[in-house]
Amino acid sequence: MNKIQPAPGNLADAFIAGCRVGELRLQCCGNCGSYQFYPRIMCAECHGRDLSWTAASGRGSVSSFTVVRRAISAAYEAPYVVALIALEEGPTLMSHIVDCAPEDVAVGAQVRVNFAAWSDSVTLPVFTLHNN
């Protein structure tokens, strides 16, 4: 059984292409300077259309998390940590926190991006705890 794959789309494909080469890509607005995620056809802050992709630092902190004890399908191995990560650049994204005991995760913990294969062609960001 396969993991749930991201639905295709031009912007999603550009994001995933970044993941494949180890970049967490955010859109940056040429008008107001805001970073945003998820990618959109306009800046959510000022509705400017001059957006460019930039590689994020990959640093962030845990806004919240949960340990899923009952997996959504057989493709996922419970327990797994689903978290909301506040990136240093501002936007928040959902991800997994991997390579740690679930009980080591806490709100406010510092994390760093990593990348994991979701299928033969799709790579997505995941995060690991960063202890200074």
Binding site: I4, F65, V68, I72, V82
Partner: protein
């Protein structure tokens, strides 16, 4: 335009059997609820000129309300099915009340039903669940529906010191209300320890922090306050209604711990000219226990961050300072998905009529109802009263 305050009234209300009802389809439950509500109002089918439903997950239809009208052979001039989501129930009431006030229709039936328990296979149910998040940036991480709400709970715990015991107390209170309601799906009393000892689903939510999966339907009849005087049932008046919409996907929420229930509540209170202290009861959306705690705060029943203390000190169970979910709520009465808040609505009608039998509140002149959909995304608040205001 004038406020809707006191302009419309509920003159009929009914629930079908709820819980596990394998002998009726979602369509049949929807039709049954309408027949019962019309009988309660003393109306026949020719006297209905508006129909609003919500789509069913077990028997989805492209034009759901139109199909139900066809089944009943009624021919409304106002007819639509609301999009999916628990928060839509009172949004529908908002629209229907406006339709009556502007003359689009005179007598509108609002009916919602589904068969999530008997009408879906386990695989269909899991598929439906996985479709909740953002299809590109959330779903691949495999969050379950309880997991989304666990993110809210965990953030509240970290920020305000709320505990799993506080959440558990919500489930205990709802069950105590349900114990007085013969229609409720789950009626055996439970303790905080029972909740904490139940299986962990998504930290910090245990099985008993999660609402039921049920079959069932409910309907109400709404008409102008002027016409409502001619009905046999005591009218229940709409005094205030408001909405607030902040996001769809949890990763895009402005705040994990404060919701758009703040705006929706303020709008409803402003229309009614009333505040939280005026409410004799509250029916608060309880798909998972943390939502009740956040709604108590955001609707002004206590200060931000003090929801846990309000639940355990003031009390929301029978005899508490603010009885919440007097029928047992989604946690203990029934939860057939989208129609969930309809049962809070019919229960409120009975409390305000004074016909709630063993669970009738000593004082029930004004009550507040709150529904939310998405992941604390879309909010609607309704204030109902025994007098037109």
């Amino acid at each position: 335009m004038d406020s809707l305050r006191g302009k419309v009234a509920i003159v009929g209300a009914a629930d079908t059997r709820v819980g596990i009802v394998p002998d009726a389809t979602a369509t049949e439950l929807c039709v049954e609820s309408i027949l019962l509500a019309l009988a309660d109002a003393g109306l026949d089918k020719t006297q209905v000129d508006g129909l609003v439903t919500c789509n069913s997950m077990s028997q989805p239809m492209l034009y759901h309300a139109e199909a139900i009208a066809e089944y009943l052979q009624i021919f409304p001039r106002y007819c639509f099915a609301a999009g999916a989501g628990g928060g839509t129930t009172f949004s529908v009431l908002h629209h229907a009340a406006s339709a009556i006030a502007t003359g689009m229709a005179e007598t509108i039936v609002i009916a919602m039903a589904d068969s999530l328990r008997s009408g879906l296979t386990r695989d269909q149910a899991m598929l439906m669940q996985s479709a909740t998040g953002h299809p590109q940036y959330e779903q691949p991480y495999g969050p379950t529906v309880p997991a989304y709400y666990a993110l809210i709970a965990q953030a509240h715990m970290a920020r305000y010191g709320t505990t799993p015991e506080h959440f558990a107390a919500v489930a205990v209170a709802c069950r105590a209300h349900a114990a007085r309601n013969p229609a409720a799906q789950m009626r055996d009393l439970i303790s905080v320890d029972d909740v904490l000892a139940s299986r962990m689903i998504a930290d910090p939510l245990h099985l008993l922090d999660c609402s039921l999966v049920s079959d069932g339907g409910a309907a109400i009849v709404l008409t102008s306050a002027e016409r409502a005087r001619d009905f046999s049932q005591a009218p229940v008046y709409l005094l205030g209604i408001g909405e607030g919409h902040s996001h769809e996907h949890i990763s895009q929420a402005r705040s994990l711990t404060t919701s758009a229930a703040v705006e929706s509540g303020q709008r409803a209170y402003a229309m009614a000219g009333l505040g939280p202290r005026d409410m004799d009861f509250a029916q608060l959306y309880d798909c998972f226990t943390p939502t009740v705690l956040v709604e108590l705060e955001d609707l002004g029943f206590c200060a931000k961050g003090e929801g846990g203390d309000f639940i355990t000190s003031a009390g929301i169970g029978p005899g508490g300072a603010l009885p919440v979910n007097t029928h047992g709520g989604l946690l203990s009465h029934c939860h057939p998905g989208n129609p969930g808040s309809m049962f809070a609505l019919t229960e409120s009608v009975w409390q305000l009529r004074g016909t709630a039998r063993d669970r009738q509140l000593a004082k029930a002149a004004v009550g507040l109802l709150h529904a939310q959909g998405g992941i604390m995304s879309s909010h609607s608040t309704l204030i109902l009263g025994r007098e037109a205001g």
